[in-house]
């Protein structure tokens, strides 16, 4: 029995999407990271969030759910959410989006009666609706114009349930979902793809281990014992390999390492006689993972990085929708930069936005070293310069400013043909790194090019 005000977040998975039982279970496992109180329904999930100290913003929550669903392979673009203090109200709010409950269409009558499963009316329900409409009742408000006793006499328990859920939604009885004690992941292989050594087998098993670790993270458990079942392409008993751990494990690299050792040992003793057609990893014994204790410190780093990755993805999705691509064709105001192969310096990169970028790691991003160094600031429209003796004149508004040349050093020569640069035609540029002194006496370094086709000196960048 719960006390105090509750806060139910209803996640509506849409009526059109087809979700298998297995995928739905995985989704529920993923949602456990928000709250332990989950109530599944027919293509909908209710999350009780009142006890969560730091609740996500609802739009962030939806973004994060979309990312989690994408990992499972579900399209969550049409999913919606609604928030209310009871399950029936949360469902009605999600489905009908009405601010005033009494103004809801009369069809919502059945949503109140069975908020977990009702979606489409069956024949008796349609007849009931027809009966309401024939009495001139378009929305729920009209139901209350007739004395309740009259409805109770006519519809009995059904109307009583409606009233209970409509007026006292907290009397609605639900059952909290609990994740299964056994986790299992399997994959089928083509018998022609012969795997005979431990390394090859481990390579094929890695996606299964990844998925299992991700699910374990969601449900907050660690592995005690796992069993690998290999089905061979011959009517012989399945090959079973058991792996027990002295300490409960959650770390993916460590699991793979232990699995490699075990498989090497097993394969050397009993080599495989036939191709494998099916592999399954089952985890039957798990243990609750108390976060932050020294015993599990080896996995804390990975856990943190997983959390960080999720927060990063959530943030990127949110910022992408706010400042990124817009429907009115406006160029995005938020972007990441990606290098491209192009002769023109201003087109040697493009704006992009990754939904799931890799986490920062200096080793994962090998730095390209292109000589000579390009300037940090690149002018969108190169400015024409006039050279007179030791001076360069740069236009500044209506006036021209005179900069004294300190050094003028050729850097590189870039050229492109018409077929390389279709919209601007061919070009031939000789770039110089120029040190100048501003009229105020401050030193500056410019990236200047001479357009060999037009014979003009252009300022293109600032170091």
């Amino acid at each position: 029995m719960k006390h105090g005000t509750q806060e139910w977040w209803c996640l509506d998975l849409g009526s059109s999407s087809e979700i298998t039982v297995q995928d739905f279970e995985r989704l529920l496992e993923s949602l456990l990271r928000f709250t332990p109180d989950l109530v599944p329904g027919n293509k909908r999930v209710f999350l009780e969030m009142s006890r969560i100290p730091v609740r996500p913003r609802p739009d962030h929550f939806l973004k994060r759910v979309q990312v989690l669903a994408r990992r499972i392979g579900l399209d969550a673009s049409s999913w919606r959410y609604g928030i209310a203090d009871t399950i029936p109200k949360a469902w009605v709010q999600t489905r009908w989006r009405a601010l005033e409950a009494r103004l809801l269409p009369v069809e919502a009558y059945f949503d109140y009666i069975d908020p977990l499963h009702h979606f489409e009316c069956n024949r008796p329900e349609r007849e009931r609706l027809a009966c309401f409409r024939s009495l001139g009742m378009k929305n729920l408000e009209y139901l209350f114009t007739v004395p309740k006793t009259a409805w109770l006499v006519r519809f009995g328990e059904e109307f009583d349930t409606f009233l209970e859920h409509f007026e006292f939604g907290d009397r609605f009885v639900w059952k909290t979902w609990k994740p299964s004690e056994t986790l299992s992941e399997e994959t089928r292989w083509n018998a022609e793809e012969w795997v005979s050594d431990a390394e090859g087998l481990l390579f094929r098993l890695k996606p299964l281990v990844d998925r299992l670790c991700s699910r374990l993270y969601s449900i907050g458990r660690a592995i005690r014992k796992l069993e690998l079942v290999l089905k061979l392409d011959r009517p012989v008993p399945d090959r079973k390999i058991e792996l027990g751990f002295a300490f409960p494990q959650t770390s993916r690299p460590l699991l793979l390492k232990l699995l490699r050792e075990k498989l090497s040992h097993e394969m050397s003793r009993h080599p495989l006689s036939d191709p494998i057609v099916e592999a399954r990893i089952e985890i039957r014994e798990t243990e609750r993972r108390p976060a932050g204790t020294a015993r599990f410190s080896f996995s804390a780093e990975e856990e943190r990085s997983e959390e960080e990755r999720e927060r990063w993805i959530e943030l990127i999705s949110y910022l992408g929708s706010k400042y990124g691509e817009s429907s009115d064709g406006e160029t995005p105001r938020a972007f990441q930069a990606e290098l491209t192969e192009h002769a023109l310096p201003e087109r040697a990169w493009k704006k992009t936005w990754y939904a799931e970028p890799e986490l920062v790691s200096s080793s994962a991003n090998p730095v390209k070293r292109i000589e000579p160094a390009r300037p940090i600031v690149l002018l969108q429209h190169p400015e024409t310069l006039n050279r007179t003796g030791p001076w360069l004149r740069r236009k500044s508004g209506a006036f021209e400013e005179r900069y004294r040349i300190c050094s003028f050093q050729q850097e590189e020569r870039i050229e492109g043909y018409e077929w390389d640069v279709e919209d601007t035609g061919g070009f031939e540029r000789t770039y110089f790194r120029v040190s100048v002194e501003s009229p105020q006496g401050k030193p500056e370094e410019w990236w200047v090019y001479r357009d060999e086709l037009l014979g003009k000196l252009m300022l293109h960048g600032l170091y």
Binding site: R311, W312, Y323, A337, W349, V360, V367, P375, I376, Q380
Partner: protein
């Protein structure tokens, strides 16, 4: 309330207030070294301010940064990559008003994913500047980030701890250092 009573009350509050551990985010190696703590503001002026910023990011490869620009982007990302700054750790924003910039920065700081928020060419409005700075400072303290203000004109604010004039990536002149011994 008398003065000794006030003093006693202040001591009591200080004893019971949770200590705010100051997280070290980076160091300025120029001029003998200065440890920078989360929430501190660094103002970089001068023609080479972006070059200096790039050098700082190269020195701190673990920092994830958001480069928030007031006008259309003028940065040349290949140059950043050339200088040793991995582009995957930088988010660029352009054409944001100061209000939008502050809102965005607070959002980024709340995520605690960024080590540096760089305001480039974005002058905070004079009215309410100190309040905005304080908000940013508190957000950055909690998010473990540094605040950089790249500008061609100095903005006077109490939240700026270090102010420097950059004439080259490694040629800077400090014009203000609060609580440090840079020479």
């Amino acid at each position: 309330m008398s003065r000794p009573e006030l003093k006693a009350l202040k001591a009591l509050i200080e004893d019971h207030a949770p200590a705010r551990a100051r997280k070290s985010v980076g160091t300025l190696s120029v001029g003998g070294g200065l440890t920078l703590h989360a929430g501190e503001g660094i103002e970089v002026l001068g023609p080479a301010r972006r070059a200096w910023m790039t050098a700082f990011l190269r020195q701190h490869p673990a920092l994830r940064a958001a480069w928030v620009q007031g006008e259309a982007n003028r940065l040349c990302p290949p140059a950043l990559e050339q200088q040793g700054v991995a582009l995957s750790r930088i988010l660029f924003f352009e054409r944001l008003s100061p209000g939008e910039g502050i809102e965005l920065a607070l959002q980024l700081l709340r995520s605690a994913l960024f080590g540096a928020i760089i305001f480039d060419g974005m002058a905070l409005p004079f009215a309410g500047r100190e309040a905005q700075m304080r908000k940013l400072q508190l957000g950055a303290e909690d998010g473990g980030a540094l605040l950089f203000f790249l500008s061609d004109r100095s903005q006077s604010s109490f939240g700026i701890r270090v102010r420097m004039e950059a004439e080259g990536a490694d040629a800077v002149e400090f014009t203000r250092v609060k609580g440090g011994t840079l020479t």
